[in-house]
Every structure is written in C-alpha cells, then in structure tokens.
C-alpha cells in the first residue's frame, strides 16, 4: 500500500488535522445550513484514508486509536438513544428536545437530541467506511 511519495506523506501529515477540524465544523454547521453528520463523517473518514494511502494500514490504525467497529457501535447506540428522551416528556419517539444554558465565552448555547443523533451518524459513517477500507487494504497487503 505504501506509495513512498514524499509529497503525499508530507501533505498527508498537514492535511489530517485540518480535515478532521473541517469535518467537525461541517457536523456542527449541519443543523441549519448544508453539512451534518453524514457529510462530516465522510470528510473525517477521507482524512484517515489519505493518511492510510500516504503511510500504511498499521499507522492508520494507530492514528485512529480505536477500532473502527467500536466507532460504528457507539455511533449506532447514540443515534438510537437520541430518539428516547422525548418519551419521558410524554411525547413521541424522535421528538427533538432542547436544553438552553449560558456558558462563559460562548454566551447562550443550545444543545439538542438532534445533535446527539448527528454525532451518532458521524461516528457510524466513519466507523463503517474505515472498517471496509482498512479490511480491504489489509487483504491487499
């Protein structure tokens, strides 16, 4: 898998943190504007993949720190759990719940179950894309 390209390897190192930051930006932006968990997850997965292409599967796994299957599972659990809080307020499943509070520096903030769902999707996309790609890359080695 290793392409031994100095240019790719150098840019890969720089692009990885930038792309990951961008993916988080997309994830958070997605509530009212284009973006969201799915596209954010794809960008994050692409970031790791770029790293995989410039290095090798072992270091890609190392930079990820956790097994992609764990990300997949955690994401699915988060997404399903986000459906539940509404029920405790006597509403239907998947009814969005909002919590408002003021934090220092940021001012007024809103958190919602919608965000939890989106984070779940984000993790599921990263987890499933990387599970497939890492397995394929390892099968090729």
């Amino acid at each position: 898998m290793n392409m031994h390209s100095l240019i790719l390897r150098t840019t890969g190192h720089f692009l990885l943190p930038l792309l990951l930051l961008f993916s988080v930006f997309l994830l958070l932006r997605g509530h009212d504007e284009p973006g969201g968990g799915f596209i954010g997850g794809l960008v994050a997965a692409a970031a790791i993949l770029l790293y995989l292409f410039s290095m090798d599967t072992e270091s890609a796994r190392k930079v990820l720190r956790v097994d992609p299957r764990d990300l997949l599972g955690a994401g699915m659990v988060l997404a399903v759990i986000s459906a539940i809080p509404g029920v405790f307020r006597g509403q239907a499943f998947f009814t969005a719940q909002w919590w408002e509070f003021t934090a220092p520096i940021f001012g007024e903030m809103k958190l919602s179950t919608v965000l939890i769902f989106d984070i779940g999707v984000y993790l599921v996309v990263i987890g499933s894309v990387l599970t497939i790609m890492l397995n394929l890359a390892e099968a090729e080695d």
């Binding site: 299957r69 764990d70 997949l72 599972g73 955690a74 699915m76 659990v77 997404a79 399903v80 759990i81 459906a83 539940i84 509404g86 029920v87 006597g90 509403q91 239907a92 499943f93 998947f94 009814t95 969005a96």
Partner: protein, 501 residues
C-alpha cells in the same frame, strides 16, 4: 401517548447497536440475542393487547403531524405480524446458540439479525409508503449480509440472484411511489387512500396498482417472479433460512394486503381478478417445483411459494371470510414453515447432508424427532386437527361461497400434492433405512450445545397443535383484522383524525 407501537422497532435497533459495540465478546452477543429478541416478543405482546383494546394505535414520529411526518400505525393485522416476528426472532436466537459458528458471529451475525427484525417490524408498522420502501431496503441490506455469511460459492450465487431481483423490485416500487406522489401529492398511506377515492383518472390508478403488484409480488415470491427464492434460500445457515422463510416473503404479502385493501379498492373486479390468477398460478408452480426436487431445503423453499398462493387467494377473493382465512393462513404458515426449516437443521447435523437420497433411518434412532417433524409437515398439508387444516378450510370455504370453483379446485389439488411432498420427506429422511454404501454416521444431537436446537422446535410444534385445538382466539384476532381491512375509513380516521376537519 401509546408508545407500544414504536417499541417493536426501537428495541431491536437498540439491542443491535449494543451488540455491535460488544463485538469482541461472543457470550455478550449471544446473551443479547436471546434477551433482546425476548424483550421484542414481550413488547409485541403489549402492542397486540393495546391494538386489541383500541382498534388502531397511532404514533406521529417526532411529533410531526400526519400527513406531513411519518406515522407508525398498528391495526390488528400489523400487530399480529409483529407478534409473529417476535416469536420467530426469539426462536431463531435460541436456535442460533447451538452452532451458528464463531466465524459468523465474528462477522456480525447477531447485529444483522436484530437489524433484520427491526426492518421487518418497521415495514409492518409504518403508515407511510416511502418509509415502507426504506424498511424494505433495511431488510434487503441485512438479509444480503446474512445470506453470504460463510462465504461459500453456492451462497454467493444465490445471493446475487436474490439481490438483483430484489433491487429490480425496489426500482419498480420506487417508480410506483413517484407516480402515486405525482397523482395525490402525499406519501401518507391513509392520505393517499383518502385522495385517490376522488381521482377521476381511474385508468392511471389501476396502472399504479399493477406496479405495486409487481413490486410486492417479487418480494412475496408470487408467480411469475418467484424464481429467486428457491435459488437462494437453501444456501445460508439453517437458522437464517428459517428466519427468511418465515418472515421475508410475508412482508411482501403483508404489503399486498395493506395496499390492496386500503388504497386500491376502487376497481376490485379488475385488480383482484388478476390477484386471483396470480394466486392460482403461484400455488401450482410452487407445489410442482417441490415435487421435482430431492433436497430438503429446496423442497421446503418451493412450498413457501405454493403457500404464498393461498395467502394471496384470501386477499383476491376479497370477502370477509376470505380475508379471515388469509390472515389465519399467514399466522399458521409462519410458525409451521420456520419449524420445518429448523428441523432440517437438526437432521443436517445428524447426517451432514440435505440430500434426501443420502439420508434415512432417523425414525429408528430418534423417534421423537420424527413426531416433531410430522406435526408441522402434516399441518402444512392441511390435516386435521392441526393449524393448517383450519387455515385451508376457511379459505376454501370462502372460495366456495364466492363461487370461484376453479380456484378452489386448484387449492384442493395443491393441498394433496403438498401432502405428497411432506410424505416424500418423511419416507426418505425418517422411515427408510440408511441407504447402503453411504456412511451412516450419526452425530449426537442430544447433548452439549445441540440441546438448544430442540427448544424452539418443540415450542413451535406446540404452537401448531395449540392453534389447531384452541383456534377460537386466533380466529377472533383474524376476524377483527379482516373487519378492519374491509373498512379502510377507520384506518384513515385513526391516522388523519383531526387533520381532516
């Protein structure tokens, strides 16, 4: 707010997600498999009780009001189907304890099982036609992965046929949804039914109805779209075969029941006449295909097709009694067919083959298993006092009352040929002596983890007998669902309620 209608979907989704998280531990996955499906069975009983009491149970997901958001609707038919899914899911999970194999578990057998069950329940409960498409796809993804667990050549071949045909059906389904939306401007099934009754262009409505018939006909393995089923169902693990045989085609049948009672009930003379021909052809081709085969699971697969014919016949006759019979038939068939597949798994462990010619002498060594086979087999053929007798009896009586004598004749002949097939399996596998020249090694199936295979088989056999002997409450449930199916205004009222005023 009645949350029972969403739980049969939420529970398997959540349990499935948890078992993905615990993918390292085989023990945790197995425990979650049994506990999760057990919990699903419990909530489906709860849903049935709620539906029995209130008639229709409706929930607007995310509190988006109908017809704009997605609604979950449970009427008696849906609740019965969800209950059967619970029973079969639970039985399969117990059966899987005995030996689905560490490799299959590693590749996600249990999460896929839960995902499949969630998809099946979603398809039964949704009140939105596009959402139904989504649940079909969820089922397709999960079933495709389950089909190729093990990765043998025959499995790949079967899976490719399975996926190609099902994708084709999904395309047709999607086209039909598009046309429906263009005509009515809504995707909510109750709203579609409400608006279609005022559409003047009945020709176009009938065209759309036929598109749905083809799309669901492929899913249900009705004539002439059945050939993917016998090509694929004998290849996967036995527990997977049993699950597919019991549930997947029945989702197609359920969708036909839903669409052709709720939405397309204007041109009954035309659409349901076609359904009747489809039913007769399905019964005949299925049973004739079975007669020609000598592989345990292939014979059973062909019998799924012929039994689907009876269910569609109940819908096609479109009288109260016929619908009762159809629903009764679905209930009886799911339990019996799952059981027959599970038994084929036990004989496979004993003899190491599914070929009838290479088996024999099991009645001598395991008479108990012979009896357990005869119960569902004779029930499938329709012998009293087992469940199949009453299912067939109601349908045939409805056929005579509707004066559709030719289809009654077909149904009776097919019943007889079913008996022939079942007796063939009985004679070859259980009765005749072990063929000479074939190594008659018998693996022990009465100790160790193999014990788990017997529990669901005995459980389902007892149910078959119970439906036959105490059929009254089952008949009551089927009667209530038929009554609701023939009066779609109540469904529309329950879903749209205040929105219409």
């Amino acid at each position: 707010m009645m949350m029972s209608v969403a739980l049969p979907i939420i529970v398997p989704l959540l349990v499935g997600a948890l078992s993905v998280m615990l993918w390292r531990s085989h023990f945790a996955q197995r425990a979650l498999g049994v506990l999760g499906t057990g919990l699903m069975l419990a909530v489906s009983i709860w849903l049935l009780a709620d539906t029995w009491e209130h008639g229709h149970v409706v929930m607007e997901m995310g509190t988006w009001p109908a017809p704009f958001g997605i609604v979950l609707v449970s009427d008696m038919l849906a609740a019965i189907m969800v209950l059967l899914t619970g029973i079969i899911g639970f039985a399969t999970a117990i059966y899987s304890l005995s030996g689905i194999g560490k490799m299959s578990e590693k590749f996600g057998y249990y999460p896929l099982l839960h995902l499949l069950l969630a998809g099946v329940n979603g398809a039964f409960l949704t009140g939105d036609i596009f959402n139904l498409y989504v649940w079909f796809e969820v089922m397709l993804v999960a079933s495709f992965a389950l089909l190729i667990l093990g990765g043998e050549r025959a499995q790949m071949e079967g899976a490719i046929k399975y996926v190609t045909l099902n994708l084709l059906s999904s395309m047709i389904f999607l086209t039909a949804i598009g046309l429906t939306y263009g005509l009515t401007g809504t995707l909510n099934m109750a709203d579609i039914a409400d608006k279609l009754s005022t559409v003047e262009d009945t020709g176009l409505v009938t065209v759309i109805a036929m598109l749905y018939l083809v799309a669901f006909g492929v899913k249900a393995a009705a004539f002439p779209f059945f050939f993917w089923l016998p090509a694929s169902y004998h290849t996967p693990k036995v527990a997977v075969s049993a699950l597919f045989a019991a549930l997947l085609t029945k989702v197609g049948v359920y969708a036909l029941y839903r669409v052709f009672t709720l939405i397309f009930n204007q041109e009954v003379d035309y659409t349901h006449e076609i359904l009747l021909w489809v039913a007769a052809a399905t019964m005949l081709t299925g049973v004739l295909g079975a007669a020609a085969h000598y592989e345990f699971r292939r014979i059973l697969s062909f019998h799924i097709i012929s039994q689907i014919g009876y269910m569609i016949m109940g819908l096609a006759l479109f009288t109260p009694l016929a619908l009762v019979g159809g629903v009764f038939y679905i209930m009886h068939h799911i339990i019996v067919k799952a059981n027959l597949f599970l038994i084929s798994g036990i004989t496979f462990v004993m003899k190491g083959t599914h070929e009838l010619k290479l088996m024999g002498g099991i009645y001598r060594t395991h008479p108990m298993l012979g009896v357990l086979f005869l119960i569902p087999a004779l029930s499938l053929a329709g012998l009293p006092p087992l469940s199949g007798f009453f299912a067939k009896f109601i349908i045939i009586r409805a056929g005579i009352e509707a004066e559709a004598y030719w289809v009654v004749a077909v149904a009776l002949v097919v019943g007889l040929l079913t008996l022939y097939s079942m007796i063939k399996i009985w004679a070859e596998v259980f009765w005749k002596a072990q063929p000479e020249g074939v190594e008659g090694q018998t693996h022990d199936v009465t100790s160790g983890p193999m014990i788990w295979m017997w529990i669901p088989v005995i459980m389902l056999a007892l149910m078959t007998v119970a439906i036959g002997l105490y059929g009254e409450p089952i008949y009551q449930m089927a009667a209530m669902s038929a009554e609701q199916l023939l009066d779609p205004s109540r469904y529309i009222e329950a879903v749209l309620g205040e929105a219409r005023q």
